[in-house]
């Protein structure tokens, strides 16, 4: 009896996963977007609903013109929900037309980056409009309960599950039986054939986005009374929702609904068992469950997972070709050291944050820039490096510089483990796996006590060489931050840059580009694609791990909050804006976009921009993806570029043209299938 009660109690969470999963499927089927912002759309529409219901205000996502008062006393449920869903429809249409339609022929990375940008922007707008406080929402469904044994089961959860099943059934019928549904399937299978048959894939996608956004809004409003509303909560649901959608192969409404409900029910029964049997592992298992599910699906059916048959006529962002590495190092060290030594306290702290963030961004250059693999777990690797550094330093007494190097090396197995699914899947599916892995590590390791140091966090002692303190602070030194640590961060960044530059020019680097350009073609000329992928994952994990070690030295006490999975998404956004295929792009990302970094510190000092940083980052990411996919640094910061720009008379050194097969500059090519281009 008790287990039945817990199964029923899990219907509330399960319904939330199912309802959100349905919209996610529509977005993917119609436009190939795994929309990480889906939970954020649900969150935003729910805020709109709450404001209408409580205060009668219609809130707009436009700062400065953000609301109209419709009724001082608040509106009733039907009016509030109706207006909110119309709002959702308009929002969905605008999101498609302004963000994803321009990207419809772009590869998966661009769409993932744009969806991350959208998520950040919606979260930022919600924070600016509604604050970070938690809202609770009045019940919508009848509040009654069913007595089973000693417990009563709230029936609203059962009703909610019924609604999820009904919507799922309705969608299944509509998409199987109606002309619109069949047209959607046709466009998802083959856009070219659909176009030749007289269908408009864009129009079909737009309509699907409207439906998906309305579904997201409806899901948010319906689940709000059983959960709580804050800018962060709904976004967190994306991992289990992705698990459900993935098991439904981003195609089946009924399977997705069933898996969503099952996930909620399973988690609930797990709670019962863990409470009753204390020997069962408990910490992180509920959050780890979706990851295990996703991993299982990827391993068992990875190759069978559908890729949309979209037309891809653009390629991944351009890749730099580092030249004159020694000269770049000398100049970078000289300019960087001068800045570290000359900048006053607050700006120096910003510069240090920028240098540290640039190290983590450098890991994207190898994996995403050179190899074209999308990873949403880079900050997780950094976290592993950071916490490992703490343990190496405190428990084993290993000092600088061996400890951070060892921490980076010990992060490599984690990179290889997360990279294993990349041997079977790519593009959006790989993004989902890495996100789930990051969430699982977050739950199992970073918040689990022993590894992350529990309540007080993991102490990281200052680095010393001989008797010289290189730490960011010292008991006998009133200045903070100390320039010595800034110089350490600078040297580490330059060394990582050299490593990446050397890799780019090596046979392995050329193999990475070949794999990125076309995996099948690369394999046909004898390149070990699996080996190249694992090497890139391992190297990027090492770089991120070293970056995490620097974060440890910078913060001195590490907690899991510093490396949570959604911060990882922000780092992808930063790296993409900076220029994900270039070392200078990683540096630009750190300098201009890092939280608490140099540009942010300056912007905050002169323009009080800190409140708008997330919004600027999100909108900036979307803009960059659409307008400047090669990033802020598309090549202007190379010596050749600078010489050409400032010394037009300087004759460019004669150099043999690079082999064309290895370049990956964006070119408009004949349409080809998505999986061959990523």
């Amino acid at each position: 009896v008790s287990t039945i009660v817990f199964l029923l109690l899990g219907l509330g969470s399960g319904s939330a996963f199912a309802l959100l999963g349905l919209g996610l499927i529509l977005e993917y089927r119609s436009s190939g977007v795994v929309n990480f912002a889906h939970g954020a759309i649900a969150m935003y529409i729910t805020y709109v609903y709450v404001e209408l219901r409580d205060n009668g205000e219609l809130v707009f996502p436009v700062l400065g013109f953000n609301h109209i008062n419709l009724s001082a006393a608040g509106l009733g449920f039907i009016a509030s929900a109706g207006i909110s869903l119309v709002y959702a429809a308009v929002l969905g249409l605008l999101i498609y037309l302004l963000v994803f339609r321009p990207l419809r022929h772009w590869p998966a990375l661009a769409r993932i980056a744009a969806s991350v940008g959208l998520m950040l922007a919606l979260q930022a707008i919600a924070v600016l409009n509604f604050g970070t406080a938690t809202f609770s929402v009045d019940p919508i469904l009848p509040v009654s309960s069913l007595q089973i044994g000693s417990l009563r089961v709230p029936l609203d959860q059962v009703y909610l599950a019924g609604i999820a099943v009904a919507i799922s059934g309705l969608l299944a019928v509509v998409y199987r039986r109606t002309r619109f549904g069949i047209a959607t399937t046709a466009a998802a299978e083959d856009e070219v054939a659909a176009s030749l048959a007289g269908l408009s894939p864009s129009r079909i996608a737009a309509l699907n986005w409207v439906i998906a956004s309305v579904l997201a809004g409806a899901a948010g409003i319906l689940i709000a009374p059983i959960t709580t509303l804050s800018p962060a909560t709904y976004t967190l649901f994306i991992v289990p929702v992705l698990g459900a959608a993935l098991l439904g192969r981003f195609r089946s409404f009924t399977v997705t609904t069933a898996v969503g409900l099952a996930l909620g029910m399973l988690a609930s029964v797990l709670l019962e068992l863990q409470a009753a049997h204390t020997w069962l592992p408990s910490n992180g298992t509920q959050e780890g469950l979706p990851f295990l599910l996703i991993l299982f699906v990827m391993y068992v059916g990875g190759r069978a997972l559908p890729e949309r048959g979209a037309i891809i006529d653009r390629r991944l962002p351009s890749v730099g070709s580092p030249a004159r590495i020694l000269r770049s190092c000398v100049v970078s060290l000289a300019v960087g050291a001068a800045a570290v030594l000359l900048l006053p306290g607050g700006y120096r702290a910003g510069l240090i944050s920028s240098l540290v963030a640039a190290c983590v961004c450098m890991s994207f250059v190898v994996l995403t820039g050179y190899l074209g693999q999308v990873s949403l777990a880079q900050l997780t690797f950094a976290g592993i490096g950071g916490f490992t550094l703490g343990h190496l330093s405190v428990s084993l007494g290993i000092g600088f510089p061996f400890a951070p190097i060892l921490a980076g090396l010990l992060t490599v197995p984690a990179g290889l483990l997360v990279g294993l699914p990349a041997l079977r899947v790519r593009g959006v599916n790989l993004a989902v796996v890495t996100l789930a892995a990051a969430a699982a590590v977050d739950a199992l390791l970073f918040n689990g006590g022993w590894f992350s140091g529990g309540f007080s966090g993991q102490q990281v002692p200052s680095p010393h060489i001989g008797g010289l303190n290189l730490g960011i602070a010292a008991a006998t030194d009133t200045g903070y931050p100390r320039a010595a640590f800034g110089l350490v961060a600078l040297v580490v960044l330059v060394l990582l840059g050299v490593l990446v530059a050397r890799l780019r020019g090596s046979p392995a680097g050329r193999q990475f580009l070949a794999v990125r350009s076309n995996e099948r073609a690369a394999a046909s000329i004898g390149i070990n694609v699996a080996g190249a992928k694992l090497l890139a994952f391992g190297m990027s994990a090492f770089i991120a791990g070293v970056g995490g070690a620097l974060i440890g030295y910078q913060q001195r006490v590490l907690t899991g909050d510093s490396f949570d999975v959604f911060t990882s998404l922000s780092f992808l956004a930063m790296a993409y804006i900076g220029g994900i295929g270039r070392i200078s792009g990683a540096v630009a990302a750190g300098m201009l976009l890092a939280p608490g970094g140099l540009a942010v510190t300056i912007g905050d000092h002169f323009f009080a921009l800190s409140n708008y940083q997330l919004l600027i980052g999100g909108v900036g990411l979307i803009f960059m993806v659409i307008r400047h996919p090669n990033g802020l640094v598309p090549g202007g910061l190379t010596w050749a570029g600078l010489e050409q720009r400032f010394r037009p008379s300087a004759a460019a050194p004669a150099a043999p043209a690079p082999p064309r097969v290895m370049t990956a500059e964006p070119t408009r090519t004949a349409p080809h299938r998505a999986e061959d281009s990523q």
Partner: protein, 262 residues
């Protein structure tokens, strides 16, 4: 709170849970307890070091720990799991996002156990959302609550009304900021302008004990008040109960930190 070169005038996380556990054991006669803990390191640590030892000290052995997951939208399973075995006290250890759902789930599930929640749940918006389900719930406050009539609090209320920006929540965190500034100002006045150094400031706070602490229990910065948290100078808590949707003082200060694990 873990820094030896800082001082903290209110216990917050370190003070809240030992005090609530102590109150539950001493005043609510807890015999069997269900504890809902967020599945994060902070929550697990708080349970292990600040809750379980206090209950054990008072002879409460039947403690059921249930970890709640941030990716789980619904708290009813967690509340039901914590209520297995029919405890007479339920303790929610989490942030404000779970306050109203936990209060509602307890009533919806028909659980009779007394519910205790952290002071962050006293936010009027959360209490409004919980409605009648909040009544009878116990919680803490690091400070004499706003509206309590305490003379310091009256001064605080008047100052905020006259000088405070609009829409600042009159909660514990605002009280902490205001109270800390007053304490610091008192210390600085004693030291005197021209003698303010890191050492002299720390010495002023650490010398003696039971210094007046604005709006809260007197502080003693000896570095040993709470094991492992040398910055904490006061961990005592007021205990409140929700009546007719509003927090009402039960009376007295409670400090459970003498019973926590080093």
């Amino acid at each position: 709170m873990f820094s030896s070169s800082s001082v903290q005038f209110a216990g917050f996380a370190v003070g809240v849970f030992p005090a609530l556990a102590s109150y539950a054991a001493q005043e609510l006669h807890a015999k069997s307890v269900g504890v809902i803990v967020p599945d994060i390191g902070v929550g697990i640590h708080a349970y292990k070091y600040y809750i379980q030892p206090v209950f054990s000290h008072f002879g409460v052995k039947d403690i059921r720990e249930v970890l709640s997951n941030s990716q789980n939208p619904d708290y009813s399973s967690s509340v039901a799991a914590a209520a297995q075995g029919g405890p007479n006290v339920l303790l929610y250890v989490g942030n404000s996002s779970g306050c109203a759902p936990v209060m509602q789930a307890r009533v919806q599930l028909g659980i009779q156990a007394t519910l205790i929640v952290p002071g962050g749940c006293a936010d009027p918006r959360l209490l409004k959302a919980a409605g009648a389900d909040a009544n009878g719930v116990y919680l803490n406050s690091d400070y004499y609550p706003v509206g309590s009539g305490n003379s310091d609090v009256v001064t605080f209320e008047a100052a905020m009304k006259k000088y405070g920006p609009p829409n600042v929540p009159m909660d514990e965190f605002t009280q902490e900021g205001f109270g800390s500034i007053i304490n610091i100002q008192r210390a600085f006045s004693k030291i005197g302008v021209g003698h303010l150094t890191t050492a002299s400031i720390l010495r002023e706070f650490r010398t003696g004990g039971d210094h007046p602490n604005f709006m809260t229990h007197p502080y003693t910065c000896n570095g040993h008040l709470v094991p492992g948290a040398p910055a904490i100078c006061n961990a005592a808590q007021r205990i409140l109960i929700i009546k007719n949707g509003k927090p009402t003082e039960v009376g007295g200060w409670y400090d459970g930190t003498p019973y926590i694990k080093p």
